[in-house]
């Protein structure tokens, strides 16, 4: 999977939920969204990319959400 596309998609999801007033809930919502709509290989591809690209421009809310889904 094209990880850069996935990263863009993940950040777009993050942007929507970032506007929500409750940060903790927003992180949960991003995590739930990815869990509910992303096929496992999409999730894995993004994680794999992030593990090798420490400079990837990922929103904090997305990073936090991914930690919720896949605790290190």
């Amino acid at each position: 999977m094209n990880a850069e596309h996935l990263l863009k998609m993940a950040n777009d999801i993050g942007t929507f939920f970032e506007a929500m007033p409750n940060r903790q809930q927003a992180i949960q919502d991003v995590a739930t969204h990815i869990r509910k709509f992303w096929e496992p290989r999409m999730q894995k591809s993004l994680l794999a990319y992030l593990s090798t690209h420490s400079d990837a421009e990922i929103k904090d809310i997305v990073r936090d959400a991914l930690r919720e889904i896949h605790p290190a």
Binding site: M1, H5, T15, F16, F37, E39
Partner: protein
């Protein structure tokens, strides 16, 4: 063929429309007592009492006109002979429909009509269906004393310019029914009566031929004509039908009910069914006339296989084709894993067929890699309305528009894309409802015959969310909220967050004006109108969903309706106008990779175990790939096989070159379709599809209305689509046992709470039902969220405006938006194979005169359109419908390559592509684009490979 439905429709013409009054009046007609709603005409009351009063200018789809003087009656205690069509029934009236004097008067009227009418009845195309002939018989006309030597119209020439019907003025009796149908039913006002007295004739536009007039070929005039004056060419050729079968149109999401008028197993005519609740007797050019594709010579009627797309096709038996497809899918799964294959259900196929395809994928393939074309149109509707209201569908019936006081049309063009609903909306607008249009283009509703939008917010493409937030800002800050509704029906905390968000200065119309391009004052006035004009109804289309913030915008619309209390009763609501005939149904049937039928997530253990038990397999709890993800996975080498039923992803999906690369990366593509469509040119197995005339099933329209599709002829290729899916599943080793689509519907009902009350018997009995249809609502649910939202409390959600990634730059200074037009349908596979090409023979690029002038472009010039994704060449149409800076095209012809230009950008929540915003440059050119040249070559090769196909042995041909 199922013959039980012949009694289902009643063809009585009641002469005048039904009165909706609840007050009843009782009168006496010819000595018989009859009770009718107040406002009913004497003519209609007589029919209710069992008597047909002679008539010519009256028909029950039109308001009475009182011109033919044939329907005269006598009323006790009153002088003269009033026309029964224009005289309302009153309590205690005593009416006589027959008397020697009335008979005399009627014969006199008929004598005059016939004295200027050809007497070629035996060879006339209306023979067997002519009201003039019937009336001459009814009144006992035996002699015409005037002779035929005087002035007459018998030698008037027929206008045959329209491909579907003729206008023969020599047969016209100037009853005005066609003119009134054009006005009242269609709302186009293309016809008039020109001239006076003897000179008066029906005339399209200013005495133009039909094809040059404003006529939209909806056929309402033809339907209304009592003689052979306006007549379908198919009837002229074939003669009158011998039987009719009620069915549902296979074009757009309006889902019109039609009578297929048949001669044996050949369709002679499609007539809109007057009791059809979606269309109430109206039709458009597509459903009414453009059905010739079903018998087009391009249809492929034998299964075919090939190992490489550079090989000629080989015709084989169904068994061989299905067996080959199944073995390929299993081979791929063995080599690349269970998840390396998937499928796409069709929004043009029936609910039953769609259900089976997703079942085959989930149970037979053993994964959730199923998606449908709603991905690229209304998936944001599913998400947005699901999040806010708890259900993924529109809230109203179409009829509800009759009670709307203000109509807000956002990113939809109903007069082109949903024409029959467009006509219903226009009727309400002519009655005085207010109209707000939010659209980058000056669509027909903005200004057309007797319609003018009160506000046209002509925004820049990509700024929908900014507009919806600024409308909400005005409503919140100017005290226009329906606080009572909000307090009772909505989640209080979510509301407060939303209120504070939209109230901020950032969301004021003034702050957003520079982005949207819409003057703040207009936004303020439009917001006040929507919030305070009474019943406010929102209708929206793909101009809302096909954006990177498509889901956000749907949420914004849902917020606006809740904030103003415009939910839960007639005349209001949030109404997505769905694109294809069964796109609502395909979503309902579990076509999305993350959910089972009835919108239940695959991770829900209770739902999954219900299906596991019923289907006898274990099912995955993780979501599968969506269409764009399938393409990405194919490029990545992990997705190798696709079963694609009735969809043309190569033409319809964005960034064509990317889609083609994905196609070429797969090892087995199975396409099931009527034609060798663009996707089939990349396929390895072709399974011939069946048209909607060749199978039984149901479609679900944009108002959640489930209607029967009825088989009027045997499948031309031997199998209906559902039978082919069953065969494929059996070959995959997951046996399916259905003898009839009604058994599939029984399974759907058994497993889906919102469908639990749906049976074919009920559909036969009621005509149609709107889901939810269950024990609580056994006859269906016309209006949703009446006392509470499906999710309980309505949930406001914050909708931050985020500009799209697709930016204009000096290199790409214009914004391209794409859409559809009236006479063509989506990828055009059907309509391009009909006479509709006479109305739209190529896709054009619409450009504002200013942008055209800057580039030296004139009407009809070839222009190159280049985006970051690709380049194509189209002819220009210079038009003020566009705003400066915005260009537009349609995508009905593959060689246009509209989707060569569109990009990979998509909605954040659903991956619905951003078709509506692409930054482009437009320049005058002399040659077609490189892509087009390649396409031309590839297409020629594929057509040759089809022509050179190895023909099946006679013994194997068409085998079932």
């Amino acid at each position: 063929m199922d013959t039980t439905h012949h009694h289902l429709h009643d063809d009585i013409d009641y002469g005048t429309p039904k009165s909706v009054s609840e007050k009843m009046v009782t009168l006496e007609i010819d000595g018989f007592e009859v009770t009718v709603p107040q406002g009913t005409s004497l003519m209609r009351a007589a029919v209710e009492a069992g008597t047909q009063i002679p008539k010519l200018c009256a028909t029950d789809s039109l308001e009475p006109f009182g011109s033919c003087r044939l329907c005269l009656v006598e009323i006790e205690g009153r002088k003269g002979f009033p026309a029964s069509c224009t005289t309302p029934a009153e309590a205690g009236m005593k009416v006589r429909t027959q008397s020697p004097k009335l008979a005399d008067l009627r014969r006199g009227v008929m004598e005059l009509y016939i004295s200027d009418h050809p007497l070629d009845c035996l060879t006339c195309s209306a023979n067997g269906d002519c009201e003039l002939q019937d009336m001459a018989g009814t009144v006992g006309l035996r002699d015409v004393r005037y002779g035929y030597e005087g002035l007459n119209h018998l030698k008037d020439q027929a206008d045959t310019s329209n491909p579907y019907f003729t206008y023969d003025p020599s047969k016209c009796i100037v009853c005005n029914r066609c003119v009134r149908a054009c006005e009242e039913t269609q709302g186009t006002f293309a016809l008039t009566i020109s001239g006076r007295g003897f000179e008066s004739r029906v005339s399209p536009g200013e005495s133009q031929p039909f094809m040059e007039s404003e006529c939209v070929s909806c056929g309402a005039c033809v339907n209304a004509c009592p003689t052979a004056t306006l007549m379908e060419k198919t009837v002229i050729e074939a003669g009158q039908p011998d039987h009719s079968v009620l069915t549902t149109c296979a074009y757009c999401g309006v889902g019109c009910s039609f009578k297929a008028d048949m001669k044996g197993s050949e369709v002679v005519r499609m007539t809109p069914w007057k009791d059809g609740k979606a269309n109430e007797g109206h039709a458009c050019i597509k459903g009414r006339f453009a059905w010739g594709y079903t018998t087009h010579k391009d249809r492929i009627l034998k299964p075919m296989i090939r190992s490489k797309i550079t090989d000629p096709w080989q015709e084989v038996s169904w068994e061989t084709a299905i067996g080959h497809a199944a073995s390929e899918f299993r081979r791929i799964q063995k080599k690349f894993g269970v998840d390396s294959v998937g499928g796409i259900t069709s929004s043009r196929c029936t609910n039953e067929e769609t259900y089976l395809v997703q079942k085959l994928i989930r149970a037979g393939f053993g994964n959730n890699n199923v998606d449908t074309c709603a991905r690229v149109c209304h998936s944001p509707t599913g998400y947005g309305l699901g999040q806010t209201y708890g259900t993924s569908a529109g809230t109203q019936t179409f009829k509800s528009v009759e009670k709307a006081d203000v109509i807000l049309v956002i990113g939809a063009n109903p007069t082109d894309a949903h024409p029959v609903f467009g006509s219903r909306m226009k009727k309400r607008l002519r009655e005085g409802a207010k109209l707000i249009v939010i659209d980058p283009r000056k669509i027909e509703l903005v200004s057309s015959a007797h319609i003018k939008a009160d506000y046209h917010l002509q925004l820049r493409p990509g700024t929908n969310v900014a507009i919806i937030n600024s409308l909400a800002h005005v409503i919140v800050t100017e005290g226009l909220l329906d606080q009572k509704f909000i307090d009772e029906r909505c989640d209080a905390e979510a509301f407060k967050y939303w209120r504070d968000f939209v109230a901020s200065d950032n969301n004021s119309p003034e702050a957003l004006e520079s982005m949207t391009g819409v003057p703040a004052q207009l936004v303020r006035e439009a917001a006040r109108l929507y919030a305070s004009a009474g019943n406010g109804a929102i209708y929206y289309g793909l101009g809302v969903t096909e954006h990177s913030q498509g889901s956000t915008m749907v949420i914004g619309i849902a917020n606006l309706a809740m904030a103003t209390g415009n939910i839960g009763r007639e005349g209001v609501g949030v109404n997505p106008l769905r694109g294809q005939n069964n796109v609502q149904g395909s979503c309902d049937m579990g076509s999305f990779p993350h959910e089972f039928p009835g919108y239940r997530h695959v991770s829900d253990d209770a739902t999954r175990s219900l299906f596991e038990k019923d289907w006898g397999v274990s099912l995955r709890k993780e979501p599968g790939l969506r269409i764009p993800n399938m393409f990405e996975a194919a490029m990545d080498g992990t997705f190798k096989g696709l079963y694609c039923q009735g969809e043309d992803i190569v033409q319809s999906d964005p960034n064509t070159q990317h889609v083609i690369a994905a196609m070429e990366a797969m090892e087995c593509i199975v396409v099931q379709d009527l034609f060798l469509n663009e996707t089939a040119k990349y396929a390895h197995v072709f399974l011939p599809g069946s048209s909607f005339l060749e199978k039984d099933g149901t479609f679900t329209n944009a108002e959640r209305r489930i209607s029967r599709v009825r088989k009027v002829m045997a499948p031309k290729a031997g199998l209906a689509d559902w039978e082919a899916t069953v065969a494929l599943s059996n070959a995959l080793g997951y046996p399916m046992h259905y003898n009839d689509p009604s058994e599939i519907m029984a399974e759907i009902a058994r497993l889906t709470p919102t469908f639990s009350g749906v049976t074919y018997e009920k559909l036969d009995q009621l005509g149609s039902v709107q889901w939810p249809c269950n024990d609580a609502m056994p006859e269906g649910t016309p209006l949703m969220h009446i006392d509470h939202f499906v999710r309980g409390k309505g949930r406001f959600l914050i909708t931050q405006y985020v500009p799209t990634h697709e930016k204009i730059t000096p290199k790409f200074p214009l914004l391209l938006t794409t859409g559809r037009i009236l006479s063509q349908y989506n990828v055009g596979a059907q309509t391009r194979r009909t006479e509709n090409v006479q109305f739209h023979e190529e896709d054009r690029l619409d450009i504002h005169p200013q942008d055209a002038a800057e580039r030296g472009i004139q009407e009809g010039d070839w222009v190159g359109v280049t985006s970051r994704a690709g380049e194509t060449v189209l002819r220009a149409r210079v038009t003020e419908r566009m705003q400066p800076g915005v260009v537009y095209t349609t995508f009905h012809f593959p060689e246009s390559g509209a989707n060569v230009i569109t990009t990979d950008n998509s909605d954040w929540a659903t991956n619905c592509p951003e078709y509506k915003v692409t930054a482009v440059q437009v320049v005058k050119v002399k040659h077609t684009s490189e892509w087009q040249e390649n396409y031309h070559q590839f297409n020629e090769t594929q057509l040759r490979l089809l022509k050179e196909k190895v023909v099946a042995e006679a013994s194997a041909a068409g085998g079932r």
